[in-house]
Amino acid sequence: MDFTVVAKNIDFLILQGLLGFGNFVGGTFRLAIPAIVLGFILGIFIGLARLARTPWIRIPAMVYVEFFRGVPLVMVIFWFWFIIPLLLRVPLPEYGVALTAFVVFEAAYLGEIVRAGIQSVARGQAEAAMSTGLTPAQTMGYVILPQALRNMIPALVTQFIVLFKDTSLASIIGYVDLTKAAEIVNNREIRPFELYLFIAVVYWLCTYSMSRYARYLERRLTPG
């Protein structure tokens, strides 16, 4: 084993592959972080829509969730890559395509987590809030969501970790993330063992910090 191959290519692996600074469009963080943030925001709206009383809001949200949960992520990425530009008659940039595909796809899963989290809050909480004269929106914002979000942390973080690792699928449209960067280096150096072991450690460190932070957050948000 000779890890000098990693040392020699560390700039490319970390700066280009992990962070996205370099000659290629890429970066695991550059895709994963905005995808998590935007996917979660969209997921909150979808989760709320799933619980709406009005069928016009509830049913489209349900169809959205069922559709995107039923198809493979790779297919969604291909779709945005080949079909949308065809329909719109404009080429779309890799980054935009990858980010949109992830946000749209993940929001379906995150929406279900949000819905379940909201439903996990006892009904008496909303009754108490409304009986003091809070509007339904204030009840949701100040009473239900804060408790729901705390209950959701474990499921959310699991999903964020899945999303983080799934960003490697963006390489199929030429996006240079950490996995793709290792592949590029390996094609030149032929040291698969060292390179793939190295990126495994990097992935693991990132996801492990995410789950540690989640546990800390969960503890901190437990009242009393």
């Binding site: 008496g124 809030a129 009986s131 003091t132 809070l134 204030q138 009242p223 009393g224």
Partner: protein, 242 residues
């Protein structure tokens, strides 16, 4: 102040309120009792429309609850509700539980709301618990915070649904005392309870419900000493014997 006109309510095929007619005047304290499942909770939950009714009409201060232009949120702000299970917000301290609605629904400034809350915590006898979270309060303390939370909106009516049923016996009195004080100050109150001592001392009128109907109604004196219905007698002998 509160008026039920031939109110009917069903849960699916279960007829839980059967033609209820009832008037509660301003400043009146009405105790509702009756066997479990008779519709007592449903009756008072209809007053602030936590439960919808299927026929009849409920009027609050002359306003029809069925009126589509009714501002339900504003109406609820005027009616305090105290639950059997307290329903305090577990993620907020006692102080934050109390100031939330005044600040958000009434747009009162934080210092002003905190001043009101501090006074209320004093009034319910737990001025030192402002910073405590519900999980660290006893049942009796939680229920008193819940009463303070309702009072912070300066309601015209207070509704209580078995406020002491979830409490250990030694905590029941501290909650009943707060309620008696409130009644003494002229609050309009509807109280579902089996605390017959409280009913005798504080109520102006006692209703006895069974199977979705009010089958007996009268002053504490006639209710306890001279009930007309055999169901009431049976209920009273059961509840007063222990």
């Amino acid at each position: 102040m509160i008026e039920f006109q031939s109110v009917n309510k069903w849960y699916g095929s279960l007829h839980v309120l059967r033609g209820i007619n009832l008037r509660i005047e301003k400043g009146e304290v009405v105790v509702v009792c009756g066997p479990s499942g008779s519709g007592k909770s449903t009756l008072i939950r209809c007053i602030n429309r936590l439960e919808p009714i299927q026929s009849g009409e409920i009027l609050i201060d002359g306003k029809r609850l069925s009126d589509p232009s009714l501002d339900l949120t504003a109406l609820r702000a005027e009616i305090g509700f105290v639950f059997q299970q307290f329903n305090l917000y577990p993620h907020l301290s006692a102080m934050e539980n109390i100031v939330l609605a005044p600040m958000k629904a009434r747009k009162i400034s934080r210092p002003e709301a905190e001043e009101i809350a501090t006074r209320l915590l004093e009034r319910v006898g737990i001025p030192d618990k402002a910073a405590s979270y519900p999980a660290n309060l006893s049942g009796g303390q939680q229920q008193r915070v819940a009463i303070a939370r309702a009072l912070a909106m300066q309601p015209k009516i207070m509704l209580f649904d078995e406020p002491t049923s979830a409490l250990d016996p030694e905590m029941i009195n501290e909650v009943l005392e707060v309620m008696s004080d409130l009644a003494g100050e002229g609050m309009t109150m509807a109280v579902v309870t089996h605390e017959m001592g409280f009913a005798r001392r504080v109520a102006h009128r006692i209703l006895f419900m069974d199977e979705g109907q009010i089958i007996e109604e009268g002053s504490p004196q006639t209710f306890f000493e001279n009930p007309s219905s055999p169901r009431t007698k049976q209920f009273l002998s059961k509840i007063l014997s222990h």
